[in-house]
Symmetry: C2
Subunit: 244 residues, 2 copies
């Protein structure tokens, strides 16, 4: 009887995978990962060179959706069937042997694995190995503490309405904004309205080849970068007392 | 000419250290870490068995403060001198050889290393290796996704005023509350007022020996546990669409 071992891969640099996940990945006979059809897949790219030569791979390719809007109930149903099928398939393999599922960042922080995790309850032994979240790799790329002292840090999605983004930017010391991409122009306006644009950074492909760190104010919002996170650093609500 | 390499140690389990930090720690000739006087120190405990036999250790012991209140300007001055002295000392060692500084969690997320980091600018080459934050280890200990879909996640300190804690608990999908300890009774009241106590977990010594995961409502607030984080999980603002 095997297990399903979900390995958090961290922010992208394979050297930032945990010792335990690295060991599980190198030993894996069965390796599954999500990807878009026709793409190598970010998770698979991170482990390039780590997999055993005889490892069997299971690319879990998201259903193509040219005709269905991404947020339609019809697409949601297609996606639910896709997760159902893969949960069944992985549970079957786990009857015989361990299966490693690769997940970027930390699997429990906005990760796709949760769709399988829910469906696998009671059907297989599931282990999750924590990873360094993508946002942690991004603030390390900037090289400054993201939060200190009694700072409040808010993690939010660029998909939120502009007014909510602005209010939260006003009410938080440190900010992490994910899912920027097509929302970048809106995120920029929201930060400007909150008086935080001057302190905002855009980190693209943090810790990976092609990493780019820029002041958000200097980035053309039409660029719509991929794998990008916006950060605003906290300054330490009370820590100034203890500094020089 | 050496470097000062700050290694994020992750949440506590040495197996959750990154491959890169693990390599740097095992190879280190000079290893520094903060600790309270008379205590082994959490960071040092995590690397037990990893250090080379000839590694030279530099315990950076916080000044004792029985007579000065922790939040007084006088204590802040004592602490600033302490950081000044250690920054000078580490920079001197780094003239000759690499020095590894051990930091629990991720060094840039509420880490003590930042006090040295600021002071070392321009005086030594400083590298920081990201780690899995303590909170990530805690939500992995509970075994449920902390945030999904368009959830807003807020990270805050139990030191904040009760009314602010309550307001933020009301206004956020997922919550991480650090520095609980002596603030636990207040945190509990604030979550109760916000209607979130029923969903709150207390995780003590996450991923470490003696780990404890409990419903916050079941914990005696007088217990004042150490290394404890309170979590309230998000439920996925829009992701329900895509679930079964």
């Amino acid at each position: 009887m095997g297990r399903i071992i979900c390995c958090g891969l961290g922010p992208g640099d394979p050297d930032l995978i945990s010792v335990r996940a690295d060991r599980a990945i190198r030993a894996a006979e069965h390796v599954a990962y999500f990807r878009k059809k026709g793409r190598p897949g970010q998770a698979r790219c991170i482990v390039e060179g780590l997999l055993a030569p005889n490892a069997r791979e299971y690319p879990m390719e998201y259903p193509v959706t040219t005709e269905l809007p991404f947020d339609s109930p019809e697409y949601a149903a297609v996606l639910a069937r896709f997760y159902d099928q893969w949960a069944r398939r992985l549970a079957e393999i786990a009857h015989e042997a361990d299966v490693v599922v690769l997940c970027e960042g930390d699997p429990f922080l906005y990760g796709s694995f949760m769709h399988l995790h829910t469906r696998l309850q009671g059907r297989a032994v599931v282990e999750v190995i924590a990873g360094i979240p993508g946002m942690v790799g991004c603030w390390n790329a900037v090289g400054m503490p993201i939060a200190l002292g009694d700072d409040v840090m808010t993690v939010l999605m660029g998909t939120l309405p502009e007014a909510e983004l602005s209010n939260r930017a006003r009410g938080s010391d440190a900010l992490v904004i994910m899912k920027t991409g097509r929302n970048l122009a809106k995120v920029r306006r929201a930060l400007q309205a909150a008086g935080r644009l001057g302190d905002a950074w855009l980190i693209e492909r943090g810790t990976m080849p092609g990493q780019r760190v820029a002041r958000l104010g200097d980035v053309d919002p039409a660029e719509c970068p991929y794998f990008a996170i916006v950060l605003v650093h906290g300054h330490g609500r009370q820590i100034e007392l203890a500094a020089e």
